[in-house]
Amino acid sequence: MPPIFREIFSYTMKTTHRFIVLSSLAATAAFFAGCASEGVKNPSGVPVTQMNPDEQGYVAGTGVESQDLVTVTDKMARSILSTPAIASATTPPRIVIDPVENATRFPIDKSLFSDRIRIMLNSKATGRVIFLARERMKALEHERELKLSGQVTSSYDPTPVAFKGADFFLTGKLEGLTTKTSAGTSDYILYSFQLIDARTSEIVWEDSAEIKKQGLEDAAYR
């Protein structure tokens, strides 16, 4: 074999050796790295984390979440109390909650909103407004009938109707707008609430909150 070819062959062999070593190491590292990464992130699980309901957790979507509920209902409760119809009322107005309408794309338990507004007003502004438990009317009427028929005792005369009428209706609506492109999904939600005068049908108070979220799913799910 001519010397020049021997040199080339020798150089090639050295390179081959290096390549063998490097590729073997790389392959082994890749296999080990693959196993380590798949494995098990958080092998012992993730302990339960207590979070404030108004903070975003690591499990998130673009829909209605607890932090939105807290933000919106806090704002609405404060806003209702500052409205003249409530703030300057000589006697505490009686309010009936009319179910919130969900016009978004997210099925939700709508009563959460009106319930939290009611709880906030009852607990933080005791006595300034009174809510009527209309959703319990069936049980209340049944109780009254039992008292009227003498099947149960009564500490008052059950004959006259004592169920109070509403001065105002509190209601709301959730509306949404969704955009979906290859860049991700975006959801805008408008939360609007109204206080309606039961006698005149006038809207005496209205306020709203807007929340927009967007995100892009892992490529494995796109």
Binding site: V21, S24, C35, N102, R105, P107, K110, T181, E217
Partner: protein
């Protein structure tokens, strides 16, 4: 120097011959031995790793004592399945529960499935694994293809109607439309007729004008959609035929494909108090599954398949080169043979470890056709008969069943009738 060196024994030959050769420099011999042993050890390790995988992935499946009750057995399967398949079993059980009239069970399972797949899923370890070269796609948690996810919402909406929550039913239809829109083909619109038609019906029931949604629904089908009847108090949801089943195609099973079988049943007819209500096929899940554009994951699986094929070819070429070099009967040839064999084996192992297999977990008890009709019936009990009709319009007598519809005195609520050709 090279010409003086004796030929190396062939790979796999007796080491003693090599050790006995006095012409070998001891340092080079040590290096060569180290290299050979090192390469062999690494290859064996890598092969072992690729063949066995990580031990934590192998989980024994508890034995199931089947009872014959599809819901009980489905729940047992769900309990025995890995967590990544939980939503799949939720879906299957929910469909069965709906058909058997166990609406509470259906609701619980659909809520769980929606909870798992309803948000924006990212930063999850199993999804990252599914994208990696060495794991199949079904490593990720199942949430279903768009048509399957839509059916979660479609079925859940029926239960919202039943609970007197048409606005939440409408929310389900709207999410279904978003899921149905095809972003991959850049056609951001859905072609699922009932999602629009029923959204409009819910809006009408809520006192809103739904003429635009009705027009959109009508534009999606050649069939004449019945105009909304706000006074209708009985909503009939019907389904017939068998839905799509996934299978894997392509050289490395990297392509997600659908097996569809055209249903013998092409429509249904509900007769109540002598009046006939037609239940034509408004939506076809086979069409929904097969006409949607590709997935991003298809590109990833395609790349995995290319990598698998390339490394396999490189392995073949290198191993063939190793054989040719080994036959040179020279030391250089043998050294080259060892090197090429090592490269070939590493490539072959990398190829064997690459798993581009597509996820073919299927919600396998879905129907092919979906239909709907709205009726106005007086409060009380009504006897009826459901017939499933073939392409020729003849009822299949084996599928004809008697139905009883009970309309409550409270006319504000809607009565829901769910009719399925599928047994469970």
């Amino acid at each position: 120097m090279a010409s003086r060196a004796p030929a190396l024994p062939r790979p796999g030959g007796c080491l003693k011959i090599m050790l006995a050769d006095a012409t070998y420099d001891s340092g080079r011999l040590t290096l060569r031995l180290f290299l050979r042993r090192g390469v062999v050890a690494l290859l064996m390790l890598a092969a072992f790793e690729s063949l066995t995988g990580c031990m934590d992935e192998v989980a024994s499946r508890p034995a199931i004592a089947y009872t014959g009750d599809p819901i009980v057995d489905g729940n047992a399967e769900r309990a025995a399945a890995p967590p990544k398949d939980r939503a799949l079993w939720d879906d299957r059980i929910a469909a069965t529960a709906l058909r058997l009239g166990n609406f509470d069970e259906a609701k619980a399972k659909l809520d769980d499935a929606i909870l798992q797949g309803g948000g924006i899923i990212n930063n999850t370890a199993d999804a990252a694994k599914a994208r990696s070269l060495f794991h199949p796609e079904d490593t990720k948690a199942f949430i279903g293809e768009p048509y399957e996810r839509i059916m979660d919402y479609y079925y859940r909406a029926i239960l919202y109607w039943r609970d007197g929550e048409p606005d939440n039913a409408r929310a389900c239809y709207r999410t279904g439309q978003v899921l149905s829109s095809d972003v991959e083909k850049h056609e951001y619109k859905s072609d699922f007729v009932l999602l629009y038609y029923l959204e409009g019906l819910a809006s009408e029931k809520l006192g809103e004008d739904a003429s635009d949604v009705f027009a959109r629904a009508q534009a999606l089908t050649k069939r004449h959609l019945p105009p909304y009847n706000k006074d209708a108090n009985v909503l009939v949801f019907a389904e017939y035929g068998h839905g799509p089943v996934k299978y894997a195609g392509g050289e490395y099973s990297e392509q997600l494909r659908f097996y569809t079988e055209e249903s013998r049943i092409r429509s249904a007819r509900l007769t109540v108090d002598g009046h006939k209500a037609w239940l034509p096929p408004y939506d076809n899940l086979n069409h929904q599954a097969t006409t949607r554009g590709g997935r991003v994951m298809d590109h990833i699986l395609g790349n995995k398949a290319v990598f698998k094929g390339t490394t396999d070819t490189v392995g073949n070429v290198a191993l063939l080169g190793a054989v040719v070099a080994a036959n040179q009967d020279s030391r250089q040839g043998n050294e080259a043979a060892v090197g090429l064999a090592a490269i070939g084996l590493i490539s072959k192992i990398a190829s064997a470890a690459t798993t581009p297999r597509a996820d073919i977990r299927t919600w396998d008890n879905l129907p092919q056709f979906l239909s709907f009709a709205a009726l106005k019936l007086a409060p009380g009990e009504h006897s009826g008969q459901i017939e499933y009709l073939t392409r020729d319009g003849d009822p299949d007598p084996d599928l004809t069943r008697e139905v009883t519809i009970t309309v409550p005195a409270d006319t504000s609520a809607n009565t829901i009738v769910f009719l399925s050709e599928l047994p469970h």
